[in-house]
Symmetry: C2
Subunit: 327 residues, 2 copies
Amino acid sequence: MTRILTRQDVEQLMDMEMAVEIVEAAFKSHGYGRTRIPHRSILELDEFNGMMGMMPAYLADSQAAGVKIISHHAHNHKKGLPEGMGLILYHDPATGMPLAIMDCAHITAMRTGAATAVSVKYLGKKNTRVAGIVGTGVQAVFQVRAICQVSRLERVKAYDLRPDAMERFAATAAPLGLEVELVKNPEQACREVDILATCTSSRHPFVKKEWLQEGVHIAAIGADMADRRELSPQVYGSADKCVTDLPKQALLVGEITDAIATGAIDEAALHTTLGEIVAGKAKGRENDAELTIFKSTGMAIQDIAVAKRVYELAIEKQAGVDIAITP
Amino acid sequence: MTRILTRQDVEQLMDMEMAVEIVEAAFKSHGYGRTRIPHRSILELDEFNGMMGMMPAYLADSQAAGVKIISHHAHNHKKGLPEGMGLILYHDPATGMPLAIMDCAHITAMRTGAATAVSVKYLGKKNTRVAGIVGTGVQAVFQVRAICQVSRLERVKAYDLRPDAMERFAATAAPLGLEVELVKNPEQACREVDILATCTSSRHPFVKKEWLQEGVHIAAIGADMADRRELSPQVYGSADKCVTDLPKQALLVGEITDAIATGAIDEAALHTTLGEIVAGKAKGRENDAELTIFKSTGMAIQDIAVAKRVYELAIEKQAGVDIAITP
C-alpha cells in the first residue's frame, strides 16, 4: 500500500522545529559514514529549457530509502506553472516497497532552511541577532524561520533585485516577529550582520570580502551548478573555515571552481563536511572572530529523512490516501 | 494533476500487440539517435540483499519523459512479497509535470517480451515455428506471447530447474493455442528450435554451441549484470551477428565480458544495436543460415514509451484516479 500525499498534506504535517531536528540527525549520520548518496542522474531536456534530476539516498540510522525526482523548466512561468516540480518516493529499504509518494516542494524548502540552521548551530557566532538575506525568493523565509530555531534572531536585512519579491518576503516574514528591513543594495544586506544567507540564481559573484564584519557566518545556498556564483573567490580566500555538505557536489559549483582556479582556496580546504562537524569528527567554530562559510548544495538524505517522518505522521494523523499501486 | 494507475489498471489497458508496436518505434527512435538514456543510478541496499535502480529516459519522437524506479530484494519471498517492485513516473517533457504514476511490473514484462519480438522480426528466420525457452519464470509466457505477434509459432519446448515453474508456464501458455512440451534438460530446449529465449538468473553459462541448429536466433534475456551468464563464449564466437539494445549496458554483463575476455568476440562486434537495424542503418538477418543473437538488457525508453500510451489510454478510458499531488 502506498500513501499519496499532496503538497497541502505535506505542509500540514511539517514544522520547522521537526525539520531542523531531522536534518541535523541526517548530517550526523552522514558524518559517521552511515548514509549512501549515489550520484544524481540527470535527464537533460534542453529543447524545453528544462531538466529532470533523480536523487536517491539511503540512511542506515533511520532505515530510510528513497528518491527525489525533481524537474526544472526555466520557461514554465509562461504556462502559469512553477519552474520546479517534483516528487519524493519514500521506500522501505528492507523490501523496496514504495510506502509513500509525496510532493517535494515543501520538504525541499524546509530541509534547505534546516541545513542552514544546522550550520548556524555549529558554525555561527554565539550571539546571532542580525541576519542578512540576499535573494528574497521562496527560499528566503525558510532560511529565516530555520535560523530562528537555533538563535535569538532579532533583525533581518533583506535585498532582492525585484522590489515585489522583497515586499512578498516582508509579508511572509512578518508573523515571525522580527524587525525586517528592506535594503537598497546587496552591500547593505551583507554589512553588519552575524549570519548572511545568499539565495539567488546569480551567475556572477556579488558578495565582496570588504563588506563582511568579523565573525560572520555565511550560508551560501543559491549557487548549485557550474554557471552559478554568489561569493567571490576573495570571500572564500578570507574564510577561516569553508565547510560543504557534499564535496563531490560542491566541486561542480561555479563559485567553488572559481575559488580553486584563482588559488583563493585549494580543494583540500573543502573536505570538511558539516556532517563531520555534527558528528564531532571535525571542529566547528572555535571563536567569535572566525569567518565561516557553509556552502550548501543539498543532499538527498535531507529529503528522504524528512520524507520518512512525514510518512509516519501521515499514518498517525490519517492524512493523504492509500492506493495499492504495486501489490 | 497526476493519474495514479495500479497494476490492475495497467494490465487492463495494455495488450501485447500495442507493446510490440510501441517498443519497435522506440527502438527505431533509438537507432536514429533521438532518445536520451542517462546511466542508471543504483542505490545499493546490500544489508537487505537488495537494490534500487533509477532509470530515466526521454524520447524526442513521442515526446515522452520519465523514470522507472525499480527495486530488487532477493529475500522478499520470505515476507510474501515479490522480489522486484517498482513504479514508472511519466512526465510531460515540456514542463516536468508528473502526468502519471503507475506500477511497473506489467509494463516491464510486456516491454521485455516486445523487445524479443522486435529482434525476431529483424533477426529471426523467415519461418519461426518452434521456440525453445529456458527459464520459465514470469517472463517466459511474455516471451512466447510476443514471439507469436511476429511469427506463426506452433510449438514451444520449455525447461526450468523447478518442475512447478514449468507447470505454471504450461498453464499460462495454454490459452495461446500452441503445443507446449516440457522437456527434461536445457539441451532439449535448445536443440531444433528456430528461436531460443533464455530467461534465467543463472550465474554460469548453460547454452552450448553444439546444441544449436543452423539459423537459430537467440534472444538472451536473463543475464543483466556482472555475475550473470547464460550463453557460453563459444556461442557468441559462433554467431554471425551479435546485436544488443544498449552497448554500454551489455558490456557490463558477465556473459559478454567473458566472451570478450576469452577472445570469442571483440568489443566492436557488439556495437550494432537493434535500434540501428530497425532504423535501417544496419543489416538484420541476411539469410536463413545465420546464427543471430540479441543480447537484451532492457532500456528505460521501452518503459517510458509504453507508459505514455498507457497514460493516454487511461485518460481515454477513465481508468485510475487523479490526484493533484504537485499543483
